[in-house]
Symmetry: C2
Subunit: 298 residues, 2 copies
């Protein structure tokens, strides 16, 4: 399927746009026994928009990744300043972007066959890292992430042409029902839900702290949630959540005493590299949305 | 057990007070087959500090209670102004206090044998309503309630002498893992966890919107949560959560599209009526903490 000639999905206009069906496949090839994912897992990802690979990484690997995450968080001055995002009401680090460029440990994680191979297989293409980041949600007052489709933002603000990218979250802490786990609306990836309102220029710095644009219509969200339900993803440290770029997701604030951190990697198909944002805003910086394709060493 | 001569639990002092064991029983009589609660339920309440009576009220009763809750919320001007608490960042109604004085439906609910009889039995005394309220947690941006023991506040700010009160929450909506359900630390009711810092006079108006005093030490909370875990209470509309006055509890913000409302009733033993607050602050208003015992019609 060629996507170049297709008009962009309509979103962030002044009017109210309709929800439209997804145009692209979710999995870009047919399942075969040699696939790096079981048949039931592939089915779940295709139909529900996500799949949880419980404890894909063992405890030693989790300790190693967590130590690296702590190292980066505890010395943010050693990092490219723009890539460090802090909580709106305190100074504590909420996210660090471009970790695959700033940490050999995370570079190796991205390049490893396990995750890259899975992304390549699902998208049936060579892949590159569109975005990588570490998310920290501290205990007691971790802030919520409101409902959104990543693709909607990447399409509107970064010029990602089509839904041919996959997000992978590696849990570095146990995610329980009580520490603000990822919540998803299963099946929502099959619709494109537009957002209302034009995007102001360079609003991304604020939006990384608290989302104000790229927020779907509450009535549409409510209808989707009533139709499909909301699933909180409860899984142990070392588990991996693979989810489609267009799945609606969110996470509640974390008032439990237990912090929650994860590594978030987005693999995009090389055939789906970014063009200019349809809305006419200038492209966001490279650390948020890679425009130069950096091939992943095999 | 006489409580009159016992020194108050130490809390809200300038220094750091130690966590101390609970002095009072949780259930004030021995279980017998004619009790209004099953043996296992009584055991759960005594040991864990709470018990969930799933769908104690049927759907017709829920519809009736919900209609009354909506009626009150939609015409707040008809209510005593002080009893209406709004969200800190919007004008929407978060709680209405003293509903048993302002609504015949909720007065009847308090007086009914089902709840009052259960409270009388657990506390082995005649009871009266110490506090009643409706809580509304709207969808999308319902605010969190941070961790606290109600008794700590009632003891410090209202002069409630002893742990001889029971809280009852009647769920008017389905409580899922995703709409900010009540979370409890089971077994925490067996310790008195002091809070740090003297209480400013008349701070209650702010604290009803966002708790800043009466907050336990994060290290103590963390240790209790690690030792006992945190349980999110997931239950259908019409279910009733009965919990001890000293159980540590909280609820996350609600970013789901589904609002969550409940009726909250506190029955206190008449032998445990309020004296003056130990900290020397003036007593809070009657709608927050009844000083006049209004006998419940039998």
């Amino acid at each position: 399927m060629s996507t170049a000639a297709v008009a962009p999905y309509r979103t962030r206009t002044r009017g109210r746009e309709a929800t439209t069906p997804r145009r692209e496949p979710v999995v870009w090839r047919s399942w075969r026994p040699e696939a790096p994912i079981a048949r039931e897992e592939e089915w779940h990802f295709r139909e529900q928009g996500f799949v949880v690979l419980h404890e894909l990484f063992g405890s030693e690997e989790v300790v190693r990744l967590k130590a690296e995450a702590d190292r980066l968080r505890e010395a943010p001055d050693a990092l490219e300043a723009d890539t460090v995002i802090r909580e709106p009401e305190s100074d504590s680090v909420r996210s660090i972007f471009a970790v695959h460029h700033q940490s050999p440990v995370f570079a190796a994680l991205c390049a490893g066959t396990l995750l890259r191979g899975l992304a390549q297989w699902l998208l049936d293409d060579a892949v590159y890292i569109h975005q990588s980041r570490l998310n920290y949600k501290p205990g007691f007052d971790g802030r919520p992430f409101h409902w959104h489709s990543d693709f909607e933002t990447w399409h509107a603000e970064d010029g990602m042409p089509a839904m041919r990218a996959v997000s992978i979250s590696i849990l570095l802490d146990d995610n329980t029902a009580c520490n603000g786990p990822l919540m998803v609306i299963p099946g929502s990836h099959l619709s494109f839900v537009p957002c209302v309102g034009e995007t102001p220029d360079r609003h991304f710095r604020q939006s990384l702290k608290e989302q104000r644009y790229g927020v779907p219509d509450p009535d549409v969200l409510g209808a989707l949630a009533r139709a499909h339900g909301i699933v909180p993803i409860v899984a142990a440290a070392g588990s991996v959540i693979v989810f489609d770029c267009n799945l609606l997701h969110a996470s509640s604030g974390n008032i439990s005493p237990f912090p929650r951190s994860n590594v978030f990697l987005v693999y995009n198909a090389t055939s789906n590299r970014l063009s200019m944002p349809a809305g006419g805003t200038p492209p966001r910086p490279e650390f948020l949305a890679a425009r130069r394709i950096v091939s992943i060493p095999q």
